[in-house]
Point group: C2
Chain length 415, copies 2
């Protein structure tokens, strides 16, 4: 049993996490939020108060911290009495925040792999580059660390585990499909910080097939997926964190990730990339000014947080898992559908931030109740998915299943 | 009879002008070239010497001058003894260079309207904004000033005059079509300085119809033109200098300009413009750096002068002129086809610079022989086109005619 949460970060996902922690503070206890910019934390707390989101009276506090400074984070953990840290700060702070948790004994939860700010894109083995090097230390000290507990990675890892455990003797393939069928009404925008968003697609696409790593170019392989609610959507094979951990835990399965892109998005992306405007290397103007093109592109694009009020439509994220049961082929599609407008009405965020921010709060609740308080480092597929789904059902992201695959009968996961 | 030429400017067009002046220095006398950057002038003279372009032994000299400083230009005219100034510097120096000519009595020739560097795009009445205000002064002082003597404006004005004089009692419409069917082999590039090039298409399209100015948006009206040599090409109605002077001299005719664009060019342009990356207004990056997006786009695009060696294909620029003769409808297409590779082999430049740079040299030769030494200010359609075509035939840009319009019989203009 652990209590009191410290949220690291104050972006769009942190806002969802704060709202959801507040809505469940009977389980979670005190809620603290900290980032480099105190005013951003205060704006989030203001939005929590506006929605009257606190389930019961309790502590709700903002703090300033440099999350790259492990000692400062440890001091804040001690000062606040937080036993659970939800890290939704930038991808560059994972290891310093994790170190602070190991130092203080607090449970650590994040939603994406650590990245080195000097690299464009991390290469496999991803988790093994940084996080997994601390696994033995976590085990030794009895520190709970749950890696990649957003939606993807996170819920999709639990989807895979559930499909395999419930429906298969043997798994053959896991295809994770992430479709945002919503519309923000702008000519073009990214759903997260453009600097991070574009990075995902400028590198090589790594995937796991025939028990080995393979490589593709981005947008090399597209597939039309006929999905529940959102209909037929085109998605392209992309690299993603969870391919690594799932390939490690299910090495016999092919593991691929598919991200949905419209033709318009791909066109704009292709023009910008082909011209060199997504480069992180500075160029010199005729007047001699040194400029990083990507930072100028970011400056002209809409602020992702400005998209939420007018965002409409739905997301559909799921796993198509194939395997065998009693010698027969089986296919199961496990998925969730979320609605942008509902997300905005509930927590003031768009659906992409909502799907990323709700799951780490469910994980924190399971740490608080002890069900996921593993006392070591775990990826999500190494934990029991059922209590996770039970909480997600209640706090906004219900899990559904189509047994027989995309054409299969549709039902709730626990029907 | 005038002698000795001073070329202002040291860009791609100035290189063509220098080569062509050298090739005709028996008519033109001493050749001087001046720009802000002496080394650029010297590089051009070096390329003239490499091609052994001087027709006969003579003066060929480079000078440094700030063409925005009228007194400095006048001093250089006096020092060099130049009686003819060919201004192919930036669009911002027309008036200071013209003032220097009026001051010294030298003939003035340019290839495009004056622009104010603080405006994105000049609005009609174009020539009347700056140049024509000096017309009376030129007449009073007996100074020859030939405006817009490149290809378009320039040769296309002569095409119109020729078609009307030779084939019509009355003119009804003049459609100028400019097609570059060449390929530079790059993903995307502009043929001139991107800052100037994009300006032409970010403003309103002004045209003359029903004896009044009308307006359109860029890329609003496209038309497939079936042209000699280059075949069917799509062109879009655009604004252009010569529409103004032709509309003034032939107010009874509709006057339109059409620029050829491929779908790829339009797509890249549209993406950049829609995102705000063609803006001349500075934006601020997340790090607080002030940057003009257009200058960054310019920095990542290929240097236009780097395109010449690999440029292949042809240009076709012509006027479709419609009118009546003896009460019957007549159509005449007057045009030139130029070849990028030939241009590079002859003068080290691509075809777009070649078509812009050869005509002002032909005009200078006509000033030298006295045929176009008008002792006042003239647009090209106000001068006899036949001696102009005769020289252009000999120095690289032959004029052809299709009587009956685009389906008409093809012949040389003087056959």
């Amino acid at each position: 049993m652990k209590q009191n949460v410290l949220i690291i970060g104050a972006g769009g996902v942190a806002q969802v996490v704060a709202h959801k922690c507040a809505q469940n503070n009977d389980v979670l206890g005190d809620i603290h939020i900290a980032s480099r910019t105190l005013s951003k934390c205060e704006a989030i707390l203001e939005s929590v108060r506006e929605k009257d989101a606190m389930k019961q009276e309790g502590v709700l506090q903002a703090h300033q911290v440099d999350a790259m400074d492990s000692a400062a984070v440890a001091a804040l953990i001690n000062k606040t009495g937080a036993q659970i840290v939800i890290n939704v700060g930038s991808a560059f702070v994972n290891m310093t925040v994790m170190d602070a948790c190991i130092e203080t004994g607090a449970a650590y939860i994040d939603t994406a792999i650590h990245e080195d700010p000097t690299k464009i894109c991390e290469t496999p083995p991803w988790y093994a580059n940084y996080e997994w090097k601390k696994r033995d230390l976590c085990a030794e000290k009895g520190v709970t660390a749950i890696l990649g507990a957003g939606f993807d990675p996170g819920v999709v890892n639990a989807f895979a585990r559930f499909a395999i455990d419930e429906y298969m003797d043997e798994v053959k393939s896991i295809d994770i499909v992430d479709i945002n069928a919503g519309s923000h009404g702008k000519y073009f925008a990214t759903n997260f910080d453009p600097e991070i968003n574009f990075r995902e697609f400028t590198g090589v696409v790594y995937y796991w097939e025939d028990q080995q790593w393979k490589e593709k170019q981005m947008f090399e392989t597209g597939h039309d997926w006929d999905l529940p609610v959102v209909g037929t959507c085109r998605a392209y094979q992309s690299g993603h964190d969870e391919v690594h951990s799932l390939a490690t835990n299910y090495p016999q399965a092919d593991v691929r990730f598919w991200m949905g892109f419209g033709d318009h998005y791909i066109n704009v992306f292709t023009v910008l990339q082909s011209l060199g405007l997504l480069s992180e290397q500075p160029v010199k103007t005729a007047e001699g000014q040194e400029v990083v093109p990507l930072k100028v592109v970011k400056a002209v694009l809409p602020d992702p947080s400005s998209l939420a009020p007018n965002y409409t439509g739905k997301t559909c994220i799921g796993d198509l898992v194939k395997g065998t049961k009693d010698g027969k082929d089986v296919e199961v599609f496990v998925y969730n559908v979320a609605d942008h407008k509902d997300a905005y009405n509930e927590v003031g965020s768009q659906g992409i931030s909502y799907t990323a921010g709700v799951p780490p709060v469910a994980a924190a609740m399971l740490v608080a109740t002890g069900e996921w308080d593993a006392k070591t480092m775990k990826n999500v597929e190494e934990l029991d998915p059922k209590p996770f789904f039970s909480i997600l059902d209640k706090i906004g992201l219900p899990t559904r299943v189509q047994v027989g695959g995309l054409d299969g009968e549709d039902k709730a996961w626990n029907e």
